[in-house]
Symmetry: C2
Subunit: 216 residues, 2 copies
């Protein structure tokens, strides 16, 4: 055994991390294998002893806080226990945060690569679906009962988080992008029942507090 046992696993992990960063920034098709390997400190030729093809990497790269226990970036301070009942509002705030908006390279791939995925093959779509369903589950588990189906609300909340970020990143005007993130965050928190209704500036609403399912 010329090389230590975990050597290949470690190098493979470096290649995947390099690919994730580059794919997040430039998309599947605008990243070359030479770039990916260079990002892992290697040259392009060695790639095919780790992966059968470039597209095999796509599935490996999809993974986020919801499926990957080692996720970092904007998730610092967010509870790690995925079944926690308090996780919903933390997730929504972290997902729609300025940090997540700016840090494209370490972004959740659902924000950076959804249309690349929709043009890809079945295994890639399956991997995307797994991450999205994991996000929905987290939101559903901590959502507060308010008479409307929890799963449907969690699905819409997740779509709102992902969609808000995707659209914000496609805008030119930073102020409008910020405004959009804030609007999505506000609605997402309300949808889960995590919104502190007393903070509402517009006092016209006569909706009784007991039905708003706020946390406080």
């Amino acid at each position: 055994m010329p090389y230590a046992a975990g050597h290949r696993t470690e190098v493979k992990g470096k290649i995947i991390q390099s690919a994730r960063r580059l794919f997040n920034r430039d998309g599947f098709d605008n990243v070359s294998i030479a770039q990916i390997m260079a990002g892992a400190g290697l040259t392009h030729g060695g790639f095919y002893s780790y992966f059968k093809s470039k597209s095999e990497l796509y599935t490996e790269v999809l993974g986020c806080f919801f499926t990957d226990p080692n996720w970092k970036s904007c998730w610092e301070g967010v509870e790690v226990d995925l079944s926690s009942a308090n996780l919903g509002p933390q997730v929504v705030r972290a997902y729609l945060s300025r940090q997540h908006f700016e840090d494209v390279e370490n972004s959740c791939p659902m924000v950076a690569l959804p249309t690349d995925v929709s043009r890809s093959n079945a295994p890639v779509k399956r991997a995307f679906e797994t991450v999205f369903e994991a996000m929905v589950s987290v939101l559903e588990r901590s959502s507060i009962e308010n008479g409307r189906p929890r799963r449907a609300r969690a699905q819409a909340t997740a779509a709102l988080c992902v969609g808000g970020m995707v659209v914000a990143r496609a805008m030119l005007n930073r102020v409008r992008a910020d405004e959009l993130r804030e609007a999505c965050m506000s609605v997402a928190l309300t949808l889960g029942g995590w919104r502190d209704e007393s903070k509402l500036k517009n006092g016209k609403s006569k909706r009784p507090r007991s039905l708003s399912a706020g946390r406080i």
Copy 2:
């Protein structure tokens, strides 16, 4: 004048339409100029007498029901008067419809190309922003007062429509994709105040009808 006056304009329009279809299906980077020109019944060489570069086409291709008066596809039957107060629910239903989900080539580019746009230059992002803001305006104008800011609700509704479709298209399981579209549609209609509350299956909600701002 060897060719009729409107000839160039007409051909340019054909090139843009061909590009729109192909970009929607395969993304900016997976479509060649030869393909675009072939779709317009021409050969690749003539392209540069119509456009300075390939990327100049990107901005031309962004345009949807909200900015382009000739839009078709899933918008059949939807009112053309963008300032109509009844347009909101029509737009939400058409946008999240099965037809719009399936007809990728004639899709709204905000669904098919948002991440391609986020990797593009300023003019492309500006064009995207214009379409999105037009959609927000339409939703805002017809949204019903319920004590929460109308613009913020309209922004979230638009992000929900776009995001729901983007995510649904990236999924493998068709049933889950349908379920997601339905969930987003339901929440989007509620957000605008267009939902018929009497249709809610779960009767636990005691929210007074007058505050739900339903249409009927």
